[in-house]
Symmetry: D2
Subunit: 309 residues, 4 copies
């Protein structure tokens, strides 16, 4: 198996490298704009914890929107389904990744789903703890356990960058506050949200996380049940319908694996009952997804028959 995976990954990487020049780095944070957009990496993790890698799989980058999955899992484990989904819906929306329109159109109503910024901020507000630092610890602990990496840490430069320029997210959190959807103080909720976006990871970490999701919530190495199976199913379904911004529908037809992307260029894909996959490439398309990453996932899905539909 491992040899097949290695070969497939190498081939995927080669295909991916051909298209990175078509993408652009995320411009909205200086720290992200500095990345070399020709870099590309990938990793696969079997359900028993074997990891194979290709390309820049050890390059560190921040989780960005991939952290929405971790925070959602933490909130669901901590507060339960009904509490969380009284604050946020489960419906996809065709809006682009940074749109705020539909939140306000339906004023008083919940953000559409936990995979868009407004929804993730509402979810962050659900995390319980005695103070913001405590809440960040709760989420970071989840990130560490789910990636199997106890040394996961926040990239303080990126965090500073996020905090100093995140006007759109600051607008969203205030809008949520004005609608009574969040309870915490706006700056505190943003602190947690930005901190989780700024957790530094590499492809190995994310492939492990994806393997936990692919394997029904079990730790690949310890076999411990890290997430309740019902939560895993729910998260995987949301990844399919809402995980790839306004490319989610297209991605379901071409790749067909529950996935979540982030503007730093990472994508996690949980091929149910098969593997966890992660790809990384900071060159993004117009939807905010890694161009090289999409190319690699499309190839892997076809060649390894991972499309669940």
């Amino acid at each position: 198996m491992i040899m097949n995976c290695e070969k497939a990954l190498d081939e995927a990487l080669e295909l991916g490298c051909r298209v990175t020049a078509n993408g652009r780095a995320a411009g909205y944070i200086d720290e992200l704009a500095k990345k070399d957009i020709s870099h590309l990496g990938a990793a696969m993790c079997s359900l028993d914890g074997n990891i194979v890698e290709a390309g820049y799989s050890r390059e560190q980058f921040t989780m960005q929107s991939i952290s929405k999955v971790v925070t959602l899992i933490a909130a669901l484990e901590q507060r339960g389904h009904d509490f969380v989904f009284s604050r946020v819906g489960k419906e996809p929306t065709g809006d682009s990744f940074n749109s705020m329109v539909r939140l306000d159109l339906l004023s008083g109503s919940r953000p559409f789903n936990p995979m868009i910024n407004a929804g993730a901020i509402a979810v962050a507000d659900c995390i319980d703890g005695s103070n913001t630092g405590d809440r960040i610890r709760v989420c970071l602990d989840y990130a560490r356990r789910l990636t199997g990496n106890p040394f996961l840490a926040i990239d303080e430069d990126v965090l500073r960058s996020e905090k100093s320029t995140g006007y759109k997210n600051r607008a969203i959190v205030n809008l949520l506050k004005s609608s009574g959807i969040i309870e915490g103080e706006a700056p505190d909720v943003l602190e947690l949200y930005f901190s989780m976006c700024s957790v530094s990871v590499n492809c190995r970490d994310l492939a492990y996380l994806a393997a936990v999701l692919a394997g029904g919530g079990k730790d690949p190495l310890s076999r411990e049940q890290l997430i309740a199976p019902g939560i895993v199913k729910l998260v995987r379904s949301l990844m399919v319908t809402c995980g790839m911004y306004d490319y989610s529908g297209e991605f379901a037809t071409t790749v067909g694996i529950p996935s979540k992307s982030g503007v730093s260029g990472g994508i996690i894909s949980a091929a149910i009952g098969r593997f966890g996959i992660s790809v990384y490439g900071p060159a993004l398309d117009e939807h905010g997804n890694s161009v090289g990453g999409l190319e690699m996932l499309e190839y892997l899905s076809q060649t390894m028959e991972l499309n669940m539909f």
Copy 2:
């Protein structure tokens, strides 16, 4: 197997009957408003064509939006992927089932997906034929082959009702025409669209259709490949992301089977590699989905472990 299915169906029906009183008949067409909303039926069809039934599984009703699946398959088989998807997108939208807003907001752009009215009308325009009657025959033939019922026919009363009151759809087709998205004359395209909505079916027919989709496009009885496997996968993924109106995301988490509902109260669900399922109950919830049908599918998904996530 059959005995288990029968038992599960009966139990599901019993649960479903408890909630039909919470729903309301579709009001917008007289013919639909006349239905007895306490009725409930269901059928399951194995991949080799065995059908079990429960309740009002032989009551006739019109396909309505379920026909969007049939027309899409016909268009894809006839004109190919690229032709069809130059006219319509693949993205879900959080809009309610009769909204037109987002089409116009993004003027000049394609309808979001083939499962909403605007998208289905654009798909209907893709069907090739020497005249409207011919195009209707093409689609009706597909409906007959996919349901295994050569006697399927259009309910002329419903068709007349649709044509005399379908102002919203008439608005949509003219908007599409004004945006240059459709080629045919507006009344002709609507004639095809309304005709397919008005095809009269029962649960047996739809369970068979669902079994074709669940089985990768093969006719359950003849084993003939009725639909190309790639098209089946594509249609099933669109059913997951967009098949249940603005309840699609929630439905993916609670049921997790590629499905498509119609305002007449029917739902088809294609449990991949397992069965085709159809339910019918004209009492609808606020999203336009059968309340009894949803209850039955939720039970069947849990008890028979059909959730694909």
Copy 3:
């Protein structure tokens, strides 16, 4: 007085001619696209009926949206304020001249005002008569009386062109029908709406109409009260807030005269207590207003101190 007006008109014309090249003909109807966009004309009519002219003031063109004023007056005279404004509002909207979005967003609600297409179609539906031909006669009679030209007629070529391509308006009328805002059959209401858009006029006709409005509803020559004073005030206020598409606010600050423009390139301006003014130039700006016409009105407003603010 007349000599001053002639001089001012000539100067305005000269200024207007310098900018016509910046505009484009309305593309959406063939008949409009054929016009020579370098042409420019203007006329002023004193409150006692003296008319001075400049440029292509005798060139015939169709009223287009200027007819919205005539139909509104007819509807208000015939059915009264409360009847008409139960079907349409009085609020301006920042939307561009052919947008339909906001109608549907607020589904069930009235179109924003009688100066946008949706509102004018709702107003057309208010006109009373035994059949469509009769209703067209009612409105055409108003147009003839208000322009002082008993020979005003419909340009059948333009009407045919409107009817064969007016998909957006056909969408609007069906949307209004689906919301229960109009009573008549959609094609009948459109027939009236398109007919009034197609009434052929020249600058003399429109300057006379503008003088009726400027003079409080009195016929400049016969001194007969053609429109009730309260209706004149109401129409003039709607012309200020909504008469120039999504340039109405800017126009109020730069010109400050109650005005209404049409996509054929005509504009009427009613300088209250002073004159009626009309300008014509088929080269349009991005808002759908005559570029040369705007230039002329801005000059006339300044030089003759016609800004009412």
Copy 4:
């Protein structure tokens, strides 16, 4: 004259008192919610500075949105027309008084006009000064001069209340910052905006301000030209098209005087060449306008023939 005005004001007050029970106090700030909604006051100021009053004309309340007029004048005088209108448009919008939708729909574009919150915040950012305190002084000085009241001051309780609960405005300012429309730091711009909303006034102050506007920018007592005539015309036209929230169009037809209202219940009306009028009544209708105030203005407009249309 004065005797007529007094009589008209008294009659207006009597009519106004009959309808205050139909309104509700603004709920969004505690300080506003405390007001006695049965109170009603009015004042008129002649162009030479004579003031007549009725009812609670000496009750203090905060300017709220009426301050948008003052800040706009200050910005236009200080930075000029082109600078200010590169940041904000002049178009009315049919949106309700606290909507944010359309700002984001047209992302990258300017707020619609200076009379909605987003536009007024953009205008506040135009005010020049060495620091926030200095900018507040600039605007407060304008308010003092335009009201003829050198003792005008900020109500610190209301300001505190605004700052602690103004989530929607905080969302707007961050959205504007993210679009690059404002230059200042978000909290600083808000400080200025909230401070001006919190300036405490009474009907006498506002009638004087309205008289300055009605009289072409001249101080009624000193005859000093306080505002350039071109700016006065521009501000009066914006008051007509956008001054009364999403009731501006209706108000133009029923009252027809350039006016601006605030959620504290005040309205200023500048009857051009005639008087300045102010009304006050904290009971608001659904558009955010004083119900008693509207009733009084409608009566005064009719009885004194102040409708400019």
